[in-house]
């Protein structure tokens, strides 16, 4: 007489995901990968700056025309912005909720301290916060131009040069990009773990890919302020 040991609930896919730690991590992994893909494109686009102001500004203008005539002017950009905003919010909200949970799950620290996990792993939370703050500044600086006193709409090349002509612009940007590198280094491999994509034979490939991605993105992004500082771009 085996008795049924479960109730017959049948929650939705999204409900199951959002209400469990594993599901929230899945949401973080997916949103993280969306952002990562965007960053790769963003970084490659940034490198256009080395071809001069005309090229770079034309590229920026072209971004607004993607999808025309099917899409209206700038619509693609707005769609991308909405998707990215959703990704950022999902990532941040899930991270916030999970972090609160994790901290509550380990209310008492060991009195004997020792670290084994890598620096990148241990700095995911603060790295995320730094990146979040940077994002706000970055948008205010180069998208809305609110905090970029010498900026002028429609002249992205000049605006970039203006930003990296100040010491604090360089410091903020470079620190954030180093944080980004660390974040991706653990985040990419972690996403693969979370999505169940890792396997014994694949672990090294994934870790190497994570390191390469982190390195390429950091170097790629940092190359712009360095170029401005060294006068290569002016």
């Amino acid at each position: 007489m085996a008795l049924d040991t479960r109730t017959d609930r049948r929650p939705s896919f999204t409900g199951l995901l959002w209400h469990s730690t594993v599901g929230k991590k899945t949401a973080m992994a997916v949103s993280g990968i969306v952002m990562l893909l965007y960053l790769v494109v963003h970084m490659l686009g940034n490198l256009k700056i080395f071809f001069g102001a005309a090229d770079f500004d034309a590229y920026a203008a072209w971004l607004r025309t993607i999808g025309e005539p099917f899409l209206h002017h700038e619509w693609f950009l707005w769609i991308a912005r909405v998707v990215l905003l959703a990704a950022v919010l999902t990532h941040a909200v899930a991270a916030y909720q999970l972090s609160r949970r994790d901290i509550a799950a380990r209310p008492m620290k060991y009195s004997h301290k020792r670290h084994r996990a890598s620096y990148a792993t241990r700095t995911m939370r603060w790295g995320g916060v730094i990146l979040g703050l940077f994002l706000v500044w970055h948008i205010l600086d180069l998208t809305t131009l609110t905090v970029n006193p010498r900026a002028a709409s429609g002249h992205p090349y000049a605006n970039v040069v203006a930003t990296f002509s100040t010491w604090y612009g360089n410091v903020v940007y470079i620190v954030a990009m180093l944080a980004l590198g660390l974040h991706i280094r653990h985040g990419f491999w972690s996403a693969a773990q979370t999505l169940g994509a890792n396997r014994p034979g694949r672990d090294r490939v994934l870790k190497t890919t994570a390191n390469l991605l982190a390195l390429l993105l950091t170097v790629g992004f940092v190359s712009v302020p360095v170029a401005v500082m060294t006068g290569l771009v002016s």
Partner: protein, 661 residues
């Protein structure tokens, strides 16, 4: 009061439940004759199960599946930690998957013979029959037995048996089988059919009008003592090897449940039948708290030796070949290092007693793989025994590939236990005992890989069938609650015993008494026993007990988590049980299986049985009343128990004397 050794002999005890007829049909006959409980009525019955090892876990899960309500107890923090988990080797089953001539009858024959003709044929045959179903059951539960490349189950030969009938999961068979039972139990716990009481230790049985109706148990976290009631009580609390202090049992394995049941009227059968395993890691000093077993498969390729000269302190490497005594090969040229467990153990003791033992305290012999490494190569040895070598290296910090291992026998299993009939019911109606807690199937010596088989057979198949008969024939008990005089008395006695332990406030720790008792038992009631030694022990035990109640120191209170109190209370029972073990060993003036009386040996030094005189089960009835104040009763010389004999009849396997020379 008569002296303890002047025990009276009472009426024979008879197993009234075992059916007559051809042995292969008896189990079917019994199941048919047994009354059943209507499925709709089962939920009205509560069964208490004490212990969550292979027997208890399997029984609790199965009874709950049948529809009974189960109250399940374990002293551990989780049912998954019961000591069945430590069994390494495997589980026997007469599947004959190898087509190597195995059969139910052969397993039956091997077990009766291996038990040196001191087990009941009916029980053993049933065990062999059920062995086949156990494997099916465990595989269905997802127990990851070793498999061959074709996906079918692998088996191996174990303990010198000529057929490969042992199923295994690397060296963790006990763990995997236990987790299977634990998971089945967990499923029933979630379904609300099992009410689990972890960290709760049974301290007494409540017997009302001659029937077991409940238990007294202590919540080990809060110290609260409570009563629990049921229609039947099942003890699955394991063996009593920890009487010896050092054994391969878990630290907290104890005899309290069975001993308290014994004091409430359950007969204790063959208490002197203890098994000593030859291949354990020797102790390193007085700090030693327990011993670790290594699979006896090591004897397949290792050679056992000691130096020829007494007190030879040279490193084994420096002892030349002609100064070594490969004593098993010398004494038993036909079987060599593969003689049965009891013989290998005793031979090791003999050479150490001669002063030729090796290692700290001279309590060890070498188990040397140098020849095996030369013959098979290190890689092959590593493949076969790597995990055992690693375990040895971790514990001893010696590299067994370079230096011979040191081994010494250790107490491992107790064949004796509560007397039960074919239905596994004790002499107290409604009180059942299963697994190592009962005495039923192994006679005077248990074969390797048979303990797991018996625990699961009892738990999954035998008890859940036979308990119906008792419950059906005793349908409407009066309600019993904590206010019943029997319950009040049992709780009061328990309270008083614990209070007495706390009140002594002496100058010796519980462990110091346990160690003292253990050394005494090992010396006089261990591998080889003599009348003189046993009498010495029987004189000494009451003295230790008296000293215990005068000098024990138990810190703290009873109303809290108090591991010293738990320990001390278990020692109270060991101090009484040890006496019965010695008495049983004294009275059985023959050698059989794990019980070796030096007075009774063949000319070539082997165990000599005396079937005409001792072909019976010795079932002891407790002599003292349970009602006296605990301190007074336990400190004094116990009243002599009464011996009840159950004659053993062999219709199918005819007793022969073992010979390995």
């Amino acid at each position: 009061m008569t002296a303890y050794t002047d025990y009276p002999t009472g009426a024979p005890v008879v197993d009234t439940k075992a059916p007559e007829g051809p042995i292969a049909e008896r189990w079917d006959t019994r199941r048919f004759e047994a009354k059943l409980v209507n499925p709709a009525n089962r939920r009205k019955h509560t069964v208490i199960v004490v212990g969550t090892g292979l027997a208890g876990g399997a029984a609790g899960a199965t009874l709950a599946e049948q529809g009974y309500h189960v109250e399940q107890f374990c002293y551990q923090d989780s049912p998954r930690r019961a000591h069945s988990i430590a069994a390494q080797g495997g589980i026997n089953a007469a599947k004959n998957y190898r087509n190597d001539g195995d059969s139910i009858h052969r397993l039956f024959y091997d077990t009766v013979k291996g038990g040196d003709f001191r087990a009941r044929e009916s029980n053993v045959h049933r065990l062999a029959q059920i062995s086949v179903e156990i494997i099916d059951q465990c595989v269905a539960q997802g127990v990851p037995f070793a498999r061959e490349y074709g996906g079918l189950l692998d088996t191996r030969s174990f303990g010198g048996v000529q057929v490969s009938r042992t199923f295994y999961a690397r060296g963790q068979t006990g763990q995997q089988l236990l987790l299977g039972a634990y998971q089945a139990l967990s499923r029933q716990t979630a379904a609300g059919n099992v009410n689990l009481h972890a960290r709760t230790e049974m301290l007494d049985v409540i017997v009302v009008d001659g029937r077991a109706r409940g238990i007294v148990a202590r919540d080990l976290v809060t110290g609260r003592i409570d009563t629990y009631f049921a229609d039947a009580v099942v003890l699955a609390s394991g063996g009593y090897g920890n009487v010896f202090y050092l054994s391969t049992n878990a630290m907290n394995s104890n005899a309290t449940a069975v001993w308290r049941a014994h004091r409430r009227g359950a007969y204790f059968a063959n208490p002197c039948f203890t098994q000593i395993h030859p291949t354990c890691i020797p102790r390193t000093g007085d700090h030693q708290s327990k011993l670790t077993l290594m699979s006896e498969s090591l004897r397949n390729d290792g050679r056992i030796w000691v130096p020829k000269a007494k007190g030879d302190a040279r490193s084994p490497k420096d002892i030349p070949e002609d100064e070594r005594d490969y004593y098993l090969e010398r004494i038993y040229p036909a079987f060599g290092n593969l003689v049965p467990r009891d013989i290998a153990s005793r031979a090791a003791k003999n050479v150490c007693d001669e002063g030729r033992g090796v290692g700290p305290g001279g309590q060890g012999v070498y188990l040397d793989f140098a020849d095996a490494i030369a013959r098979m190569g290190k890689a092959k040895v590593e493949e076969k025994y790597g995990n055992l070598f690693d375990m040895y290296a971790r514990i001893t910090a010696e590299n067994p590939y370079e230096v011979p291992m040191r081994i010494y026998p250790a107490v491992h299993y107790t064949m004796g236990g509560l007397w039960v009939d074919y239905d596994l019911q004790t002499t107290v109606p409604g009180l059942f005992a299963i697994g190592e807690a009962n005495f039923s199937d192994h006679g005077a010596n248990r074969l390797g890989a048979s303990a797991l088989m018996q625990g699961l057979a009892d738990g999954y198949f035998v008890l859940p069938s036979t308990i119906n008969d008792y419950l059906a024939r005793n349908p409407h008990h009066d309600e019993v609650d904590a206010g019943h005089p029997a319950a009040v008395a049992a709780v009061r006695e328990t309270d008083e015993r614990l209070a007495a332990l706390l009140a002594v406030d002496g100058d010796r720790t519980p462990d110091s008494f346990h160690r003292e008792l253990g050394e005494l038992m090992w010396e006089y009631c261990g591998m080889a026993r003599t009348e003189e030694g046993l009498r010495k022990a029987l004189d000494r035990i009451p003295q230790i007990r008296e000293e215990f109640w005068r000098r024990i120191k138990v810190p703290g209170t009873g109303e809290e988590f108090n591991q010293s109190l738990e320990k001390a209370n278990r020692i109270v029972d060991y101090l009484e049980l040890a006496e019965l073990m010695c008495l049983d060993a004294l009275h059985r003036a023959e050698s059989c299986g794990g019980h070796f009386r030096e007075e009774s040996q063949t000319p070539d030094g082997e165990a000599a049985r005396h079937d005409e005189e001792f072909s019976y089960v010795a079932a002891w009835e407790h002599g003292g009343s349970g009602g006296r104040p605990p301190g007074e009763h336990s400190a004094g010389t116990g009243a002599a128990p009464t011996l009840h004999k159950e004659d053993l009849v062999f219709e199918y396997v005819h007793p022969t004397q073992r010979s390995y020379a």
